[in-house]
Amino acid sequence: MEEKQNFTVSVYTENNVGILNRLSAIFLKRHINIESMTVSKSEIDDVHRFTFVVIVTKTLIRKVVGQLEKQIEVIKAFYHTEDEIIYNETALFKISSEHLYNEKIQKKLKFRRAHIIFITEPYFVIEASGLKADIDNMYEKLKPFGLLQFVRSGRIAITRPKMAISELLQEIN
């Protein structure tokens, strides 16, 4: 059996209503759970970028990307393994103020990419960003203090090789 792994799928599309539905339907049809998703504008005017993270086999992701790219309003779609990208996720943790000076929390804040972004009387908010494992680790450490709220963003990713995606996309303009 071919092994499943994390793939980051970047889809460059026109900016129209309904594209998300069309893309997600392709994952749904193959019973693939979307681990995370981010939509933003891209480096090119009027071109939107979807970033999906899915855990599937390489054979399957190749076929899925073929189907994604086939959609009329999709300009280009790519898939990358973890070592082909630089990526980031951000999380917010809301914790009761009674724990603000707790040593364990203060120690966690020494982690280079976590800091308090908001403090008020009843609670404070920690923002952390990094790889998924970093956020997971932070989550496990902070959970014992009672998380009043927790949220993690979808992945944002950029390729490691100087992949001339923009040049490729510019051609169509």
């Binding site: 309904g18 069309r22 339907a25 073929g66 189907q67 309003e73």
Partner: protein
């Protein structure tokens, strides 16, 4: 019938004039040379129907008896003519009733433009009367869809819809138009769509790939071509024939590829797949080079992929990059449309005959003939077979008819035994297997090609799924010939129950009405045949009829379709009994 009114129609050339969105839709259709559309009116599409009334001398609206019938009729129209089929329905149930036909068109690559009315834009999301999210519902089964909420969008979106439906690998497009956009006035001008920046319909054919394919074909000792509908959609029949003849390659077809090359062609070795011919199925696992042209290796064609043509190098001529390596790993993929690619291939091929290899097909055909075909076409038992009905139709139409089949046993028999002389003569629901497809599709086919003999062949099951379209045949005076092969069973399911479920016939027996009386109720000429000696005369009467004609043939109840590749088996393990 309504009295025809003479109405002044404004010139539809490119000058701008101020019209309502509803009229703009009709004007777009006229710009796209649409002269016939199939549909069913209702609240949210009434402004467009009002315009259809005014434009009735330019554009003929066919009122089907159910919206599903409208989509299948539009499919039949498209399949026989190569033009875009158009259908129209109201919001809510009207729109959802289109979905089966749209899904069928998507999987069988049929160009359709479906227009649906929608509640007014300020009511969207309010669960208004007959509101349904048809854009959401149809997304996975359309090539493209779009909801128009402003009349100003109509010309551009309609132009895109037709362009997308017909270009590249064709498919269905749905355009949903809110009622307020139909009322809103715009300055109308129309420009045909010639390209969309994010959409490349036809990949360029890479000459080096064509050369590599030619090299492989030239060195092959046992090459086999399997062609599909891509040849018909790409209008590459002539090019395919030239390739086959020059390289002397035995060539088989998928169900949707049927009729691209005449049945009688000496290198036409029959159908591949679950109920295909013995030789091409068995020899798929013996060929050294498998050349797939405009086909997509459907599981009904390949059987078990783990044992499919593993010994062969595979060349895939394909327009849709997403199909390459989807099911079968290819050694050489030649992207592009079939016509261009085959044209480039032809001069690179050596003249060959492969006589020994071709003899193998003949030998296996002889086995299939003795075990299956002889009994199907020249039965000695009392009951009529479906095969002998097809044989009689072949004889009396001289292979000139277009055969529109439904789904099931009769479909496999029709595709196996119909003798085709002309391309676009086999219209059937392949990928989706939509029972009920046949009758309405035959209506559309006959209306698109009135000069052709169009024969609808259905089983007693599928026929009753869209039987109400007899009303359309009667009202529109469509001279389609309707044959029902009645075995009193949902025959294909019953066959599987017999073979794989110990004959437990769960809900496959049909207690049927008097089909002849029903046809007569729709004022159609109708006849029932129960004995062999009545068959030839009845078929002759049907063919001679200038009007629609209904023929029921009561066939043996528990005949099975063979050969058969059991589900999950290898194509070379095809059973003859």
């Amino acid at each position: 019938m309504k009295e025809t009114q003479t109405i002044e129609i404004k010139d539809t050339s490119h000058k701008t004039d101020r019209i309502a969105g509803s009229e703009a839709i009709i004007r777009c259709l006229l710009e796209e040379n649409v002269d016939i559309l199939y549909g069913y009116p209702g609240g949210a599409i009434m402004p467009v129907y009002d315009e259809l009334y005014k434009y009735q001398d330019k554009i003929h609206h066919v009122l089907t008896r159910h919206e599903q019938g409208a989509t299948h009729a539009a499919q039949g129209f498209a399949r026989i003519s190569g033009r875009v089929g158009v259908c129209i329905a109201t919001s809510g149930p009207g729109a959802t009733n289109l979905v089966t036909g749209i899904a069928d068109a998507q999987i069988d690559s049929t160009p359709l433009v479906c227009i649906t009315g929608q509640v007014a834009s300020h009511l969207l999301g309010s669960d208004a009367f007959q509101e349904t999210d048809i854009v959401g519902i149809s997304t996975p089964v359309t090539k493209w869809n779009y909801q128009i909420t402003k009349a100003s969008e109509i010309p551009e979106v309609m132009a895109k819809a037709f362009y997308i439906a017909r270009s590249g690998r064709p498919g269905p497009v749905l355009v949903d138009i809110t009622k307020d956009a139909q009322f809103e006035e715009i300055d109308f001008s129309y420009k045909k769509c010639e390209g969309i920046r994010s959409y490349k319909p036809v990949p360029e054919t890479d000459n080096s790939k064509v050369q590599a394919a030619a090299d492989l074909i030239n060195t092959a000792k046992k090459p086999l071509i399997v062609w599909g509908q891509g040849v018909i959609l790409g209008k590459a029949e002539k090019e395919l024939k030239a390739v086959i003849e020059k390289a002397g390659i035995p060539s088989a077809w998928t169900i949707l590829g049927a009729s691209a090359i005449p049945t009688s062609h000496p290198l036409n070795v029959g159908m591949v797949g679950m109920h295909g011919n013995y030789a091409p199925n068995v020899l798929t696992n013996e060929c050294d080079v498998l050349i797939a042209i405009g086909m997509r290796f459907d599981d009904r064609v390949t059987g078990n992929l783990d044992t499919y043509a593993k010994q062969a190098k595979v060349i895939h001529f394909e327009i849709d990059p997403a199909e390459v390596d989807k099911n079968v790993k290819t050694d050489i993929a030649v992207l592009g449309d079939a016509k261009t690619s085959l044209k480039k291939l032809l001069p690179l091929l050596n003249n060959k005959s492969h006589d020994d290899w071709h003899q193998k097909f003949k030998d296996l055909y002889a086995i299939e003939y003795d075990e299956v075909i002889k009994n199907d076409l020249y039965p000695t038992k009392e009951g009529l077979t479906m095969g002998e009905v097809l044989k009689e139709i072949n004889i009396q139409t001289k292979g000139e008819a277009a055969i529109v089949s439904d789904v099931g046993q009769h479909q496999m028999i029709a595709c196996r035994y119909a003798e085709f002389k002309n391309t676009r003569s086999n219209i059937t629901s392949g990928g989706l297997g939509t029972m009920g497809f046949g009758l309405p599709a035959a209506i559309g086919a006959k209306m698109a090609a009135p000069e052709r003999e169009v024969i609808s062949i259905s089983g007693d099951g599928g026929y009753q799924m869209t039987i109400q379209e007899l009303g359309t045949i009667f009202q529109q005076k469509v001279a389609v010939k309707v044959v029902v092969l009645n075995n009193g069973f949902l025959g294909m399911v019953r066959q599987w129950q017999q073979l794989f479920f110990d004959k437990r016939y769960a809900s496959t027996e049909m207690t049927n009405p008097d089909f002849v009386t029903i046809a007569k109720g729709y004022y159609l000429n109708a006849k029932r045949v129960t004995k062999r000696e009545e068959l030839a005369d009845a078929v002759a009467e049907m063919i001679a009829s200038k009007e629609a004609y209904f023929l029921e043939v009561c066939v043996e109840q528990e005949d099975n379709v063979f050969p058969m590749v059991p589900s999950g088996a290898s194509v070379s393990d095809i059973r003859l009994k």
